[in-house]
């Protein structure tokens, strides 16, 4: 029985694609790196490092947050972001699984 045309995508593929989409912009990669470097959650120094307007950076932060890759909490007048390790691990897991498949091939 060969693989048949389905009427929808696998949930796993959708999840992985969503994670990939979250990283599909250099600004968001740079944000993740910055958050990792800082080790502890940092706030809007991110804006100072990303070559985009404050509003745009805020938008990118929101997208990473929506994807679950980062968390944000308000601390007084500032906003603190940090990496959501759990989610990143989930992402890593899905990717490793994919790459393992890819390695077996060709």
């Amino acid at each position: 029985m060969a693989a048949q045309k389905k009427d929808a995508f696998d949930t796993e593929d959708i999840k992985l694609a969503a994670f990939a989409k979250a990283l599909a912009h250099p600004a968001r990669i740079a944000i993740m790196k910055k958050l990792a470097e800082q080790n502890v959650c940092i706030c809007g120094e991110i804006v100072d490092v990303i070559p985009l307007a404050q509003a745009t950076v805020s938008q990118h932060l929101k997208e990473l947050k929506n994807a679950g890759l980062i968390q944000g909490t308000i601390e007084g007048v500032t906003s603190c972001y940090c990496i959501n390790t759990k989610a990143v691990e989930g992402f890593d897991k899905l990717l490793t699984k994919l790459f393992k498949k890819l390695d077996k091939c060709c």
Copy 2:
């Protein structure tokens, strides 16, 4: 000396984002998986497995090709695609580097 605002993104971040973008759609994840499963390069059976019109699948294939993740060659009336292992390895390398950073944090 703190990190300063740059006028552009890191080349590496741009590269990684482009790879991520290539996988930022469930159809393209599914295509990669299918190509990996088939082990050898396969042709348009992909169309039979992806829940999208032939033209749309062709478009997604083109994007994966443009990103360098797959290669395509014409074999008579059919078209054969296969995974570009070199590129996938490059992607994996960049990602591993990123995730290593992320793991150190929080």
